[in-house]
């Protein structure tokens, strides 16, 4: 048994509801951030990874579900090693393929082949990075002393991602809702907390109405229609996610999401990005406010099932993010 307040579940039956609560405050996170910036600069960047681990441990520790907080056990050293690994197996080959032709003054076919190979490298490594990052992140997270884990096969997701992106391109985006749903289903169904598996029963076609509305209204609403699609997608994904018969319930709406994002952009723009702790705390609070779990989750039946997770994916994703966002 668990002791959440009584509520009415999605299917109308009376059941228990467990809420997520975020206790974090921008003040504490800002303090951590300021010290992190100082140490990162003073160590010429080496501290960056420990800083990242500290911020994540703090944020996870502020998130409470059914009376207990989450914990993040990852270390900066793991993330540093993950980054180095990503640099060696991805970054250096990519840099060579991307800038090699210019440095070697290659023209014609060899240069073309190298650009093509660089493109493929990225296409294959985005899914590898996503899976690796999820595997690491979940493997280092716990709730009530029980570790999460991700057990999906990397190559299965690479296949799913490559065919999904290709089909999305070939159908001029029409395949996207199916692709997004399959991708999400893969991520969810392979996620576990101890011996309990998360389940997902959504189907891509259910998102088509919302998707077509967003496409048609893109121009008249100057793109703002996509906030409603994004909210509909999150709601749909969460409402079709369950664990041991207990089902998540998400109440995010397009209007609320738009308000959150607009305010965050303003906060960041006005402070030149220095207020990111505030924006981060607002995001976390928003998600927790709009997410709950309906139904009985027998916590005592969830048993520990430790699996190992390497830190490579984390490094890969960080590397890719840096590459895509910062040039």
């Amino acid at each position: 048994m668990y002791g959440g307040p009584q509520g009415i579940g999605v299917d109308g039956r009376v059941g228990t509801r467990a809420r997520l609560t975020f206790h974090g405050r921008a003040g504490s996170l800002s303090g951590i951030h300021v010290v992190n910036v100082f140490l990162t600069l003073a160590t010429l960047g080496i501290y960056y990874f420990r800083a990242k681990a500290r911020v994540r441990a703090h944020l996870y520790g502020q998130m409470e579900f059914d009376g207990d907080r989450f914990a993040f056990h990852g270390t900066g050293l793991e993330m540093l090693l993950g980054f180095v690994k990503a640099l060696v197996i991805f970054g250096i080959p990519f840099a060579f393929l991307r800038w090699g032709p210019a440095l070697l003054v290659l023209e014609g076919l060899p240069a073309l082949a190298m650009s093509f190979a660089a493109y493929w490298l990225v296409t294959v490594f985005i899914p590898i990075a996503r899976v690796g990052s999820r595997r690491y992140r979940l493997g280092r997270t716990s709730w009530r002393g029980i570790r999460f884990s991700f057990r999906g096969s990397t190559w299965e997701y690479v296949r799913l991602f490559v065919t999904g992106s290709a089909l999305t391109g070939l159908t001029l985006g029409l395949y996207y809702p199916v692709f997004a749903t399959r991708s999400h289903a893969f991520m969810t169904r392979n996620s576990w907390v101890g011996s309990a598996r998360f389940d997902f029963d959504g189907r891509g076609r259910d998102l088509y109405v919302a998707y077509l509305y967003a496409v048609l209204l893109t121009l008249p609403t100057l793109g703002l229609a996509w906030f409603w699609f994004s909210a509909a997608r999150r709601r749909y994904f969460w409402n079709h996610t369950s664990i041991r018969g207990a089902r998540f319930r998400c109440t995010i709406t397009g209007g609320r999401l738009l308000r959150l994002r607009l305010a965050n952009v303003l906060i960041l723009a006005l402070t030149l990005g220095l207020a990111w702790p505030l924006a981060t705390v607002r995001n976390a609070r928003f998600i927790c406010r709009h997410l709950a779990l309906d139904g009985d989750l027998d916590a005592a039946s969830i048993r520990q099932d430790p699996r190992e997770a390497a830190a490579t994916g984390e490094g890969l994703l960080g590397f890719l993010e840096a590459d895509l966002n910062l040039g």
């Binding site: 600069l41 960056y48 520790g61 070697l104 960041l268 990005g273 916590a299 005592a300 966002n325």
Partner: protein
């Protein structure tokens, strides 16, 4: 003294109410089912409870206890046989704000120091490790892409005169770079240096020179860009400013990254103006060493370049240009020429400069 909280055994997600006592160097955990566990304090790690409102979280291997009262920390610190700092001292929370402010000021100071000195100096050092062959390949690649072979003016006799100016400038000291000047058939009054030794002079600029000495001034400036590796340094500086910005701004989103890119461009321009000043001063010194009249360079800047300088030399726009205002550059060059001026030998005796200027066949 005892505390209440709960215990997680790390095998199931069930939580059990528990009470805690510190006995000697041991934490005693009594759960409601009557069992008692004893943890040596030296094996306990504290993973939460350093901020107001947080419960204290203590771990030993896979087991965890949660204690809402931070008072337990004070007792644990007292009883810990060694490494007391593993346990947070709640009394030190008062110090947190002043320490954070100090760290913030220090971080701001470091960021400014890196921006003003660290990054330019570091890029200068790092550029020295880039082989000149790489620079030459990069420069050649850009050159081939930017200028059509048809645009390049190739008149062997007149080209030889221009090459003679370069040879005179370089002198006996030589340079690791293969300096190749190409005149390109475009009307703009401009010249540019590519990494690795390629220098491009636009026809418009060549026609605006009144003497070989004036062209020598321009070439000396561009050669300085090459030998001081300004392009390579700019690339390194651009990458390192990006890293520094990322460190300060934390995990940046794409939207924010876009805004920060603007900040980096302004930074790049600042470094670029510094490079121009360096190339001016170095170029003038090069002329003096080669016994070429430095006043021709000053005259070219003052008579030809300054009237073209439409950018306002006051206000914000001054900071948004890749080059410093020409008036400032002329003033700096004049001062240098006065200070360094020496013996002068004629450049290209026996050549008709007006004829050399027709390298592109115009007229």
């Amino acid at each position: 003294m005892s505390w209440r909280g709960h215990y997680l055994d790390g095998r199931t997600a069930a939580r059990r109410a528990a009470s805690f006592r510190v006995v000697g160097a041991t934490l005693e955990i009594a759960t409601e089912d009557g069992a008692t566990r004893r943890w040596p304090i030296s094996e306990i790690r504290q993973t939460q409870g350093t901020y107001a409102g947080e419960p204290v979280r203590l771990e030993r291997d896979c087991e965890t206890v949660i204690v809402p009262d931070v008072g337990i920390l004070t007792t644990l610190r007292l009883r810990a046989p060694r490494r007391r700092s593993r346990f947070h001292d709640p009394r030190r929370r008062r110090l947190r704000v002043p320490l954070t402010v100090a760290a913030g000021l220090a971080a701001a100071g470091l960021a400014v120091a890196f921006y003003l000195w660290g990054i330019p100096a570091g890029a200068g050092v790092a550029a020295r490790f880039v082989p000149t062959a790489w620079e030459a390949r990069l420069g050649d690649g850009v050159f081939e892409r930017l200028f059509d072979p048809e645009e390049r003016c190739a008149d062997p006799r007149r080209q030889a005169a221009i090459d003679a100016i370069v040879a005179r400038l370089v002198g006996r000291r030589g340079t690791p770079y293969d300096l190749r000047v190409t005149v390109v058939d475009t009307p703009q009054v401009n010249a540019l240096a590519l990494p690795g030794g390629r220098i491009v002079v636009f026809r418009g600029l060549l026609e605006a020179t009144e003497s070989p000495e004036m062209l020598a001034g321009v070439l000396a400036h561009e050669i300085q860009h090459v030998v001081r590796r300004h392009a390579t340094r700019a690339i390194i500086q651009h990458a390192s400013t990006g890293l520094m910005v990322a460190a300060v701004a934390g995990d940046v989103s794409a939207m924010l990254a876009f805004a920060l890119e603007g900040a980096r461009v302004v930074t790049a321009l600042r470094y670029s103006r510094r490079a121009e000043d360096e190339a001016d001063a170095g170029g003038l010194a090069m002329l003096v060493d080669a016994e070429i009249d430095p006043w021709a360079m000053v005259a070219f800047y003052a008579r030809v370049l300054e009237p073209m300088d439409r950018a306002p030399d006051e206000g914000i726009l001054r900071h948004l240009s890749t080059h410093p205002p020409t008036r400032d550059r002329v003033a700096a060059l004049t001062a240098l020429a006065r200070e360094r001026g020496g013996g002068v030998r004629p450049l290209l005796p026996g050549h008709d400069w007006e004829d050399v200027k027709r390298i592109c066949g115009a007229g």
